[in-house]
Symmetry: C2
Subunit: 145 residues, 2 copies
DNA sequence: GCAACTCTTTAGAATCGTTCTAAAAGATTG
DNA sequence: CAATCTTTTAGAACGATTCTAAAGAGTTGC
């Protein structure tokens, strides 16, 4: 059992190292720790602050500045995507595919909109000289009393 | 000609005063100056900083703090709407109706998406205990080389 | 394995948009 | 006009993020 777990973990770690190398990033202790937190399980939506807390909680000690650096490097490498729904803080999404979001305003939480069923019709052509980089839909939710 | 213009302006001003009163806001020099800038002509998308510059340019002298206060008061009164497309600054839109936006990333400019033809299909139901406050579509544009 | 080199990390300072504070100025009511 | 309430404002404070430059770690060639 022990060995299975550690095999699984090291396999993950190998993938991660390859991922980092492919992005031209050295596989440092810090980047591996953050990579594990971000890419190990299911999709996540994190802020720098909360990822830093996660890392600390897991015993990885790194500075907040490194978390910011890393999030931007991962974003530039196409491993993450930035989501802007709130003027206060920036969210990073591990799901880089085409999809949209629910935003729970009361709690400041993001969730992917499941399925790829969302269709947007009737969008005008982009103005001359510009092209669409992305169409983002945010469904803002509030708790019902 | 002169009189026509000044009549038009004072008519506008009267509307504005009424608008402010209806919102429970005293018609102060500062609020009237900002109101004129915001509601006189066509729809606008402003940041606090740029509205402050506009005001200064027009000869109205008021502090940046007042611009922030006023923008929020107008927003609470339903006269403006906040639009979040950029982590750096907050935009305020004089068009409070249901509509969506183009965002010119290179220039940090917002534009309404003309017409009410945009339809969004296939949205899942909001999670239990929540309700949709608003669905926002942002079409991010970049200049074509 | 070790030197030489390059890339990373980091603590702390700096930045920037925005909000807060408390005191002065202005609007309103009777 | 006096009394009262609201607004404005300069400047301090704030919080997320970025910058700085010096120390630390990863990499490469030998």
């Amino acid at each position: 059992m022990r060995s299975t777990v550690s095999k699984a973990v090291s396999a993950h770690k190998g993938d991660l190292v390859a991922k980092l190398r492919a992005a031209g990033l050295r596989p440092t202790r810090q980047r591996i720790a953050l990579g594990k937190l971000l890419f190990a399980d299911c999709d996540r939506h994190v802020t720098a602050e909360c990822l830093h807390q996660d890392a600390t909680r897991v015993g990885a000690s790194l500075s907040l500045a490194t978390v910011y650096n890393t999030l931007h490097q991962f974003t530039n490498a196409g491993l993450l995507r930035q989501v802007i729904v709130d003027g206060e803080k920036t969210y990073f999404d591990t799901n880089t595919g085409d999809h949209h979001h629910f935003y729970f305003e009361d709690q400041g939480l993001l969730a992917d909109i499941p399925g790829d069923d969302v269709r947007i019709d009737g969008l005008p052509k982009p103005p001359a000289g510009t092209e669409i980089e992305r169409v983002e839909v945010v469904v803002r939710l509030k708790s019902r009393d």
